[in-house]
Symmetry: C2
């Protein structure tokens, strides 16, 4: 099972590492972090560098994961990345995204006619590609799976594992990573958070992202 | 706010990246991944390399995070790592661990007389250092904070943020990473999972880890 996690400058790390922690433990998994250029790729905070292999090293992954982050807009405008993604999607078993990674799938034309999701603060990133985001945490559409913001990739990867292998195998992985979440607050989605907090976070994130 | 996340060969990535995703967004955060040797450090799966700075580059972090993983036993026996950790702990505001990272804290003598936790399948890693693990997901003991297996570091980091900054700031970060978890199953802890699954996962993980 060949798995490719796409990296690009200013990706959000947990978007990729959540799915990595689950999918790297699939039977016969062979997982690669791939990027346009071989070598360290810097995350959105500037504090983390993950070493990537070149896109050319893995052109036929069984599972594709595209994380989001402030850099997703540039990735979605990069013909080399889009070309790799379209080609990889032709033979993939699963093509997935987390957070604004869905913008890259949309730009590659892979979400046409499909329901999809993204980070709650950036619906316009999908809309500008003619895709209307829906407010679910994980959206399965055939072999295309999109997940909501950042931490949702863990839920997505476990749900994908259940479909790809079995419920019991996914449960074993969930127990192995002791995924019995106990968030200290119940404010993890815009529907649950106070409106003032939602506006504060939306404004802060969009400013940091260079969006209006 | 200087933050050090300790890396060592065969660490578990999500143990470190969960807290990273939260703590890197603290006010004035300056976060470093540090390791005994500068350069790429390979995770437990062999599929991921994170670039680290040398331990000597950050000897007085305000927050220390020690992730777990199959390599924690070797890290806990490494005098260079233990020496760095003891010295850093002298002036830290928070000294934390995720998963079997608590074994490294224990080996450094930092858990003496304290309650602590670790991954549910490896209680012996603490017990051999005279520390009896307790079955809570996040354990605060003054400035020492231990978290349970792998994914618990996200909960730990948000709880720490609430204490270090404010509830509102922690809530903003939780909403920013859309941490409204929806695990596909309710089997994320040994208390919730069927006994046969617990024994299966315990055996598989301990065998992979080289433990009996």
């Amino acid at each position: 099972m060949k798995i490719a996690i796409l990296l690009y400058d200013r990706f959000t790390a947990l978007d990729g590492i959540g799915p990595y922690e689950v999918l790297s433990r699939l039977p016969d998994a062979n997982l690669s972090f791939v990027a346009k250029t071989q070598g360290p790729v810097e995350s959105d905070t500037g504090f983390l560098k993950i070493v990537a292999e070149p896109l050319s090293s893995l052109t036929d992954p069984d599972i594709i994961v595209v994380p989001g982050g402030p850099g997703s807009e540039a990735a979605a405008a990069d013909p080399v990345i889009l070309g790799w993604l379209r080609r990889a999607h032709e033979s993939s078993r699963w093509t997935t995204s987390v957070c604004t990674g869905s913008e890259v799938l949309a730009a590659a034309g892979l979400l046409a006619g499909l329901e999809a999701t993204t980070h709650w603060a950036f619906p316009d990133r999908l809309e500008k590609h003619g895709v209307r985001p829906i407010g679910r945490r994980v959206v399965f559409q055939g072999k295309v799976v999109t997940a909501a913001g950042v931490s949702s990739g863990i839920d997505m990867a476990l749900a994908l594992t259940a479909r790809e292998v079995s419920d019991e195998f996914a449960q074993a992985l969930q127990l192995g990573i002791e995924y019995d979440p106990q968030p200290p607050f119940d404010v993890g989605s815009p529907e649950k958070a106070p409106p003032a907090l939602v506006e504060l976070v939306r404004g802060t994130m969009r400013a940091a992202d260079g969006a209006s």
